[in-house]
């Protein structure tokens, strides 16, 4: 459903079926709607079988990278004698994205079940669910669900009476967007600064506590019980465009739009129909100007591009952007793109971990220039400087936060250059003395 709006007929509520339903929060309520049948079934399969089913379904990581989940699980070598770990990435900090919180606060058991199946499939006895510190309600609900699951013998040393151990521990974050990056997330669990790690080594070889680890997004894991219950073919059949993009996806819609909320549609859905029909189009008296379809880190789309897009991984790339996390941020004609891109840069500058030179300095420098332009103090050289900085920040760092900061700048200047130029009046600039931090 386009929660909190009523479900529209074009939606395919799989993960969102119980959003807003108070009953399915508890274990009893979840069981009444068929919960934990999938886990029961999975525990009767071999891990390899589960991996094959997930592979066949075509499920791809829903956190933003879109990596095939079954393939990722197959990197975990069984029987190597080392403890394996599953980490659930519930850090959800990508601006524009708010789907995982809904899964966690309305259907926490869906996540617990998905994590349990995932752990078993990759040979892990321990799963850490990393929930960002700001998610007060999801933390409460998921912790409560886990307690219920332990009390009912679903989790613990003897999961559902099978003799297999499955432990799930909630790890509360403390305010850092970068901890949504999988290696930074592991460092954060280990009690370190949330610095991303150099790869190789890859997590499946040396991850959490230097052991083989898989990190999956909340939405990805919540889809797994459905795939186990209804089969890979069912999931694969949910496909409207490119066969490499299967299944349903929660799109978090926000910004200047009539009905913001989480909408679940089959991949390949028409973005134009999505924005104007399902989401109700622009607010009254306004018109759409731009949209960022996949969270703040993906390129800005013009409305022309957006209206031609099929909503899947390949479709967004074809129209100048990326699916990313599916966080749809809509800007209407009243917004200043310069102001919003400056604000986006400020976000990245605040969140940079400070390891890589280009990110540490570049995010702050970009912000300062953009804010100067926003305030009417921009100069003619500034746009070229911004693009030079963006080029230096792309493809040269440990993680892609640096690239993500460059993206709105590059796509913004490319597609909305006139807005920048309108604010630039000066051709020279008079520097001021150093500022004390």
């Amino acid at each position: 459903m386009g929660y909190p709006n009523p479900v529209s007929p074009q939606e395919t509520p799989v993960l969102s079926q119980y959003f807003g339903n108070q009953e399915t929060i508890s274990l009893d309520g979840w069981r009444k709607v068929g919960g934990y049948a999938a886990l029961q079934k999975a525990l009767g399969m071999t891990p390899a079988e589960i991996v094959d089913v997930v592979k066949a379904s075509g499920l791809r990581g829903r956190g933003g990278a879109g990596f095939p989940t079954g393939v990722k699980w197959s990197f975990m070598k069984p029987g190597d004698g080392r403890p394996h770990y599953l980490c659930c990435n519930a850090d959800e900090s990508e601006p524009g994205t708010f789907k995982d919180r809904e899964i966690m606060r309305w259907t926490p058991h869906a996540l617990v079940e998905g994590c349990a199946i995932g752990s078993y499939a990759i040979g892990a006895e321990t799963c850490y669910i990393y929930i960002r510190g700001e998610f007060t309600e999801p933390l409460l609900r998921v912790r409560q669900a886990i307690k219920e699951a332990y009390d009912a013998g679903i989790l613990g040393a003897n999961a559902m009476g099978t003799g297999k151990r499955i432990d799930i521990i909630v790890h509360k974050g403390a305010g850092a967007y970068i901890c949504g990056e999988e290696t930074a997330l592991m460092n954060s669990i280990e009690g370190r600064r949330g610095n991303p790690r150099i790869k190789p080594p890859f997590p499946a070889v040396s991850g959490l506590f230097a052991q083989p680890t898989t990190i999956n997004n909340v939405e990805t894991l919540a889809a797994v019980p459905h795939i186990i219950n209804r089969g890979a073919d069912w999931y694969k059949s949910m496909c409207l465009s490119n066969p490499k993009s299967t299944g349903s996806k929660l799109f978090s819609v926000c910004g200047n739009i009539a009905r913001p909320g989480n909408y679940e549609v089959v991949l390949g859905f028409s973005f134009k129909e999505f924005l104007y029909d399902l989401c109700g189009g622009p607010p009254k008296g306004r018109s759409f100007k731009a949209v960022i379809p996949g969270g703040i880190s993906v390129p800005i789309q013009t409305m022309e591009e957006a209206e031609a897009t099929k909503m899947d991984y390949e479709g967004f790339i074809e129209q100048g952007s990326m699916l990313g996390s599916g966080g749809v941020i809509v800007f209407d004609d009243q917004q200043s793109m310069v102001k919003q891109i400056a604000r986006a840069a400020r976000f990245f500058a605040h969140e940079s971990c400070a390891q890589c030179t280009q990110c540490r300095e570049g995010t702050a420098w970009t912000t300062r220039i953009l804010e100067r332009i926003r305030d009417g103090e921009g100069t003619a050289e500034d746009l070229d400087t911004l693009l030079l900085i963006a080029d230096n920040m792309t493809g040269k760092t440990i993680c892609v936060l640096s690239d993500s900061c460059a993206t709105p700048v590059v796509s913004g200047i490319k597609k909305f250059r006139s807005e920048f130029e309108a604010l630039i009046k000066k051709t020279t600039f008079h520097p001021v003395t150093a500022a004390v931090a």
Partner: protein, 529 residues
Amino acid sequence: MATTAQPTAPSTPKMVTLTIEGRQVTVPEGTSILEAGKRAGILIPHYCYHPGLPVAGVCRMCLVEVEKAPKLAPSCATAAADGQVVHVHSEKARAAREGVLEMLLINHPLDCPICDQAGECELQDYTYQEGPKELHLKDPKRFHPAEDFGGDILYVTNRCILCTRCVRFMDDVAHDTVLNVEERGDRAVIGVFEGKEVTNPWAGNIVDLCPVGALLSKDFLNKARAWEIDRAPSICPGCSQGCNIMLETRDNAVVRLQPRPNDEVNKYFMCDHGRLDYRWIDRTDRVQFPLVRDGQSLVATDWDPAIAAASKAIAGKRIFVAASPNLSNESLFLLSELMRAGNGTGAFTVPTGPEAPLPGVEDLSLRADRAANGRGAETLGFRRSANPLDGMNDGDALIIADCELDGIAPEQLARTGSVVVIGTTFPQIARMASAVLPTANFAEDEGTFTNLRGRVQRFTQARPAPGVARPMWWVLSDLLTATGRTDATFFLASDVFAALGKSHPAFAGMTYDSLGLRGAIMAGAEGAR
């Protein structure tokens, strides 16, 4: 053992061959591209990487272009692979490095005229080599005040490039995590916890490691410009570890000691005790001219009469040598020859202090024995004792060889037959000496020390000796000749060393050339091959 041992071949690592800037180089599998570059004679610019520290890969300066790879690779953190073709100076790689340099320079203060690091600064070096021609920054630079980190360490926050070498050294090598990175983004700085100053005995190394002038030694602050400094390879005399150092002088005054890399002894490091204890090298109470007794007083004279007087003083008597454990093998060898000729003995005293290991490096510590050549003295026949006159008989000719005779009462010298002082200073207690022969200290001489593991290492001359003081081995050579020896005329320290090798099996076969700047283990010592 009855059974024959199976011969075990040393495991040979798999080798890979790659091409860097057109040069082929073969290295063991697992070597980074950056290290492979070094073997090929190519220095890939870098900051955060250091062979003595774990890899961080954060500065992004070492990015190189690898053919067929989608992105530029950080060469310090990328393993060399068979058939790789690497370009260090391609347009893409240079543009990336230029970008990093510009990013580092935008907030870096233009402090060069007042910064100690100038002249030995890696930011200056690489900017000059391949930096941006202009900076595009039009906004104010951020400012942080400098901080006193305690001990000898000053942190000039503004200049810091966040390479984190200092943090990694204290954490991984010194096992004393007193430094951290605080905050995020461009607000990040290196920090200490208030009240927990950086007083670790190995902390001075972070000043060496800092590529820029962010971490400075208070001791060295504003003392000398890097280009005014003369440098001589030497050995730290602070203890028996024998860390390899560079002895640095400005206008012949010692301004700084810095570690010199030696994989077998000290890797890249030295302790603060040795590092900061160099002022004695420039002490002003040196004997500068030979003195001979004339009635109640000692008068300055030329060398020849001084040698003659010394020779006369020791003639016909049993000889006892009170030696310093900081004398070179060459000097100790000739002293022992004098001893033998005089049917005598010798002793040395070693001051001791608490040990301070560097936990992250095998077998590296500030040693309890606070002397450079105790092992050499032992090997050459001197007795180690708490009493510097241990073994002296009444009526002996006492040769005080650069020894201060701590703890000795004047009455004890009254029982000697004669006293000759050969050394850098003239101890008060030896005022009755017949002759005083001035010598050079280790900074003014060339020779070898033997460390606690039996490694014989060379030190070289950094500056001339004061007055007409001469190397001790030279003075002893003259003295031996004056006593009638015909084979003891030495003009070169290397000749003394060769004679030592002929006479003592432990030093057999060693030459200054074979020692080079790494040294070699004495025959029969543990670790000798």
